[in-house]
C-alpha cells in the first residue's frame, strides 16, 4: 500500500504542473556565456557570430513569436523558444555552423568557431 504513496504524489505533482497550464515555467539558470545572440524581428543578431572553441552561447528570443535555433546539419536544436525563453549551446569544435529557425526557415545565421587563443 505504501508503494502507492509515491505514485499518488507523482500524479498530484503532475496534475499540479499540468493544472498550471502553459504558464511560463521558472527558466533554468543561465551559465556564464561568451556571447548572447538575440532573436528579434525575425533575425538572429549578431550574425556571423565569432567565438572560440569551448565558448558557450546564449540565445534569447526577444520576439512575440516563438523561434528555434536549429543547426542546418541538425546536430543541435533548441526546439521551441517562446517569448523571453533562453537556450545555451557550447561549440566544442572549430568550424562554421549554419543554423536557422525551424518555424521560419528564411531566418538563417552563422556561428564561426575558431581555435582557442594561445594562453
Amino acid at each position: 500500500m505504501n508503494k502507492l504513496i509515491p505514485s499518488l504524489a507523482l500524479v498530484a505533482l503532475t496534475f499540479a504542473l499540468h493544472g498550471a497550464g502553459a504558464r511560463a515555467a521558472t527558466p533554468p539558470a543561465l551559465l556564464p556565456a561568451a556571447l548572447t545572440i538575440h532573436i528579434k524581428d525575425f533575425k538572429f543578431n549578431p550574425t556571423p557570430a565569432k567565438i572560440h572553441v569551448g565558448d558557450r552561447v546564449t540565445f534569447v528570443n526577444d520576439d512575440d513569436e516563438p523561434h528555434t535555433v536549429t543547426a542546418a546539419d541538425k546536430s543541435y536544436d533548441s526546439e521551441g523558444l517562446d517569448t523571453s525563453n533562453t537556450w545555451q549551446h557550447v561549440y566544442s569544435k572549430p568550424g562554421t555552423y549554419k543554423y536557422f529557425c525551424e518555424l521560419h526557415p528564411y531566418m538563417k545565421a552563422v556561428v564561426v568557431v575558431t581555435p582557442a587563443p594561445a594562453q
Binding site: 525575425f42 512575440d64 536557422f100 526557415p105
Partner: protein, 292 residues
C-alpha cells in the same frame, strides 16, 4: 462576416435541385430532414499553449468553436483541422488539444502545421496519426468529392515544401480521377505564393497546382496565416481560413507576421471556422463563420 449573416445557405436533394433558403430558416427546417446535404467544416490554427495578450485563453476560443460546430443543425460529415493545433509541440499541449477536439460530434481529421512538428513529428503522429497515412498525406472520396490532404511542413530549412515523394503520390492519385470530379485539397501553408516575404508560400506548390488544372472545379483550403483570404487561379479556388486562436496582420501591412492584438470585444469577430458544401455546378460553397 457576422454570424447573423450566415443564415442563408444552400440545400439540395439527391436529384440535385437546390433551394436558396430564407433568413427565417423555415424552409431550412422543412428540407433539412429530406435533404441532409453533404457538408464538412474546416478549423485551423488553435495554438493550444499560447498565453500572450493577443488571446490568453486559446483553449476557451477553441471550446467555443467546437460548441458552435456541435450546435449546427446539420452536422458536418467531418471536421478537418488544417494545422497548428499546438503552439510549441509540447506533450501537454497535445493532451489538452486532443481532449478538446475529442468533444466534437463529427469525425475529426487533423493535418500538422509547423508548430505541431517542432523538433520532431513524434507527438503529432502519436496523437493524430491515421493508419492509412504513414507519411502524413492521404486521399479519400466522400459526398461526391475527391479529397487530397497534404503536408507541407515536414521539410527542414524550407517551410512549405511538399517534396517529390508527396508530389508523386498526388500525380498518381489524381490520374485516377475524372475531370468532372470536384477536388478539394487540404494543406497547412498556402499552396500558392500568397506572401513569400513572410514564408506564406509552398516552394514546390506549383507542381501540384499544375496537376490540378485539368479538373473542372478545385478548392484548396489551408490555414497558417490566421485570416480569410480568397484567391482564384482559373479553375482553382484558394481559401485560407481564420484561426481559432488569434489573428495575424494582412500581408505586408506590418513589419513582420505574428500575433495581432485587437480590442478584447473584437477578438471573437476575427476568429472562426468555415462550412463547405458542394454547390450546384460542381464547385464548393465556402461559408466563413465568426465566433462572435
Amino acid at each position: 462576416m457576422r454570424r447573423k449573416d450566415f443564415i442563408e445557405h444552400v440545400g439540395w436533394t439527391g436529384a440535385g435541385i437546390a433551394w436558396s433558403l430564407s433568413a427565417t430558416g423555415l424552409l431550412g427546417a422543412q428540407r433539412a430532414e429530406a435533404a441532409s446535404p453533404f457538408s464538412f467544416v474546416q478549423i485551423s490554427d488553435s495554438h493550444i499553449g499560447f498565453t500572450r495578450p493577443e488571446n490568453p485563453d486559446v483553449a476557451g476560443t477553441l471550446r467555443k468553436t467546437i460548441e458552435d460546430i456541435n450546435a449546427l443543425p446539420n452536422q458536418p460529415a467531418f471536421v478537418v483541422h488544417t494545422g497548428d493545433v499546438t503552439h510549441l509541440s509540447k506533450t501537454t499541449e497535445f493532451d489538452d488539444a486532443k481532449q478538446l477536439l475529442g468533444t466534437l460530434r463529427a469525425p475529426l481529421i487533423v493535418l500538422p502545421g509547423e508548430h505541431d512538428v517542432i523538433g520532431s513529428s513524434k507527438n503529432f503522429f502519436a496523437n493524430f496519426a491515421r493508419t492509412d497515412a504513414p507519411s502524413g498525406w492521404f486521399s479519400f472520396d466522400q459526398g461526391g468529392i475527391h479529397f487530397v490532404s497534404l503536408v507541407n511542413v515536414f521539410n527542414f530549412e524550407i517551410d512549405g515544401k511538399l517534396g517529390q515523394e508527396q508530389i508523386d503520390f498526388v500525380e498518381k492519385d489524381l490520374a485516377a480521377q475524372k475531370k468532372s470530379t470536384p477536388i478539394v485539397v487540404f494543406g497547412h501553408v498556402p499552396l500558392y505564393a500568397l506572401y513569400p516575404e513572410w514564408g506564406w508560400t509552398t516552394e514546390d506548390g506549383t507542381k501540384v497546382l499544375a496537376l490540378l488544372r485539368r479538373f473542372d472545379a478545385v478548392t484548396v483550403l489551408n490555414g497558417h496565416i490566421h485570416q480569410i483570404i480568397q484567391h482564384t487561379e482559373g479553375n482553382i479556388r484558394f481559401a485560407t481560413a481564420a484561426a481559432t486562436a488569434y489573428p495575424q496582420p494582412a500581408p505586408g501591412t506590418a513589419a513582420k507576421p505574428g500575433p495581432l492584438k485587437v480590442p478584447d470585444d473584437k477578438l471573437l469577430s476575427v476568429l472562426g471556422y468555415r462550412s463547405v458544401e458542394l454547390a450546384t455546378g460542381g464547385g464548393t460553397k465556402v461559408t466563413d463563420r465568426a465566433l462572435g
